[in-house]
Symmetry: D2
Subunit: 129 residues, 4 copies
C-alpha cells in the first residue's frame, strides 16, 4: 500500500482550555483523513460518503497535539471484509506520534440502505494501492 | 413580544487555549437560539430550517464567556420585512451580558429556491408573541 | 452505581449532509457526559479536567442519531485502576440505543504532569455512587 | 496591501443537513484566516492571540458554500485605529464570492488586560504590507 496522508493545520478554535487540541477535534480529523482516502477510490465526496456508514471508531491519544505545527494524518492500513472496510490512521506532529486510530466502515446499498458486499471495483482499486 | 430564551450549558471542548469560550462556538449558539425560536412558529426542525437562509450575522462580543456557568440566550427582537426576518439575540452569563447579535434570515420558496414573501401565517404567529 | 445521565439536545449545526448527526459531534458529546460525570466527584470543571487526560476512546455507532429529539447520554460504568479510570457511556434517542462508548482516562499529578495513583478520596466517592 | 489568503478545504463534518457548509463553520474559518494573517506580523500563534480580543464580527453570507471545492479566504483590508484593528475578509469558492466579513479586534495589554494602543512595531509591519 502506498502512502496516503493529509496535512492538517491545527486551528486555534480546536484548542481547549488545557492549551492543547481537544480530543473531539482529533476525532473529527480522523474523518477528514478517512474521507479523503476514500474519495480517489471513486467514492467521490458527498456521493461516496453516502455509501459508507461509520460503525465504530477507536482512538489512542498517544501524546498531546498542539497549535502551531502541522499534523500529518496517514492512512497506514485498509482491510476489506465482506461488507466492511477497516481503515487505520496514524497522526504525527513533528517527530511525535500523537494519535493512532481505527475506523470500521460498513458499505451500504444506496437503494436498500442495508449493508452490502464491498463491490469488486473498489476491492481492485484498494489492492492496487 | 414574550420572552423566549434557551439555556446553553457551555461544553468543555468549546473553550479555547485562551481559557474562555471561543467566538466560533458563540456564533454557533446564536444558531441554536435562532432555530429553536423559529421551531414553535410552525417551522418544525429540519423542514423549517430549509425555508430560511441566513443572509447576515452580526455579533458584538461584550464580555468573555467562561466554562462552568450556564448562558441564557434570549431572543429580544424579531422584525419581519417583506421576505426577511431579523432576529436579535442577547446572551448573558450570570449578571453579565456577554454577547449581542443580529441575524437576518431570508424566507425561501421551497420550489423556486428564491426569496419569497414571509407567509401571513408566520406573520400572525410572530405578532401574537 | 446510581444512574447518571446528561440530556443533550442535538443542534442543527451538528447534522451533516447525510441528514443525521455527524460522528464527530457524537464523540464530542461523550466528552460532555464524561466531564459532567466527573465534576460532582469533586473534580470541578476546568480545574478537575486538568487532572485527567484522555488516553483512549472507543465508540460503537449502533444507529443513526437525528436532529429533533433529545439524546440521553448515560454513564453505565466507571472502573478505577491504579492511575486510570474507565468510563462507559451509552446514548439513546427515544427507544433506540444509538451509541455505546468507552473512555480510558489517566489521572495526572498536577505538579509532575505524570500519571499518578487515583486518590483515595475519589475512589471512595465513586464507590459510594 | 499585498494579497494574503488562506486555502480552506471544506471538511465533511462542516456540512449540515441542508447539504451545504453550515454558517457556524464559516464563522470559524474567519478566525482561521484572521489569526494566520496576524501571525507573520510577529503575533506568533497562541502568544499573539492572547494580545487581541475579538470585539465584533459581521458576516454577509453571499452564496452557499459546498463540500468538495477549496475555499480561498482572502484578507482584503486591515485598518488600524488607536487600540483596534479592523480586518476585512472575503471568501470565494471557484468563481463565486460566498462570504464577506469584518472583524474588529482590540489590542490588549498583557499585564493590565485592558485595551492598549496598537504598538508602532505592528503599525509599521502592517503599513509595509
Amino acid at each position: 500500500m502506498q502512502d496516503f496522508s493529509v496535512t492538517i493545520t491545527p486551528r486555534f478554535y480546536e484548542t481547549d482550555a488545557l492549551g492543547h487540541i481537544n480530543n473531539a477535534s482529533i476525532a473529527a480529523w480522523f474523518e477528514v483523513s478517512r474521507i479523503r482516502f476514500l474519495e480517489p477510490l471513486g467514492q467521490d465526496g458527498l456521493a461516496g460518503a453516502r455509501d459508507w456508514i461509520l460503525a465504530s471508531l477507536q482512538i489512542d491519544f498517544v501524546a498531546e497535539t498542539f497549535y502551531g505545527t502541522d499534523v500529518i494524518a496517514s492512512i497506514t492500513g485498509a482491510k476489506i471484509g465482506n461488507s466492511s472496510l477497516t481503515v487505520v490512521c496514524e497522526m504525527t506532529q513533528g517527530d511525535q506520534l500523537t494519535a493512532r486510530g481505527k475506523a470500521v466502515l460498513v458499505n451500504m446499498d444506496r437503494q436498500t440502505k442495508k449493508p452490502a458486499r464491498v463491490p469488486d471495483s473498489l476491492r481492485e482499486k484498494l489492492a492496487a494501492r
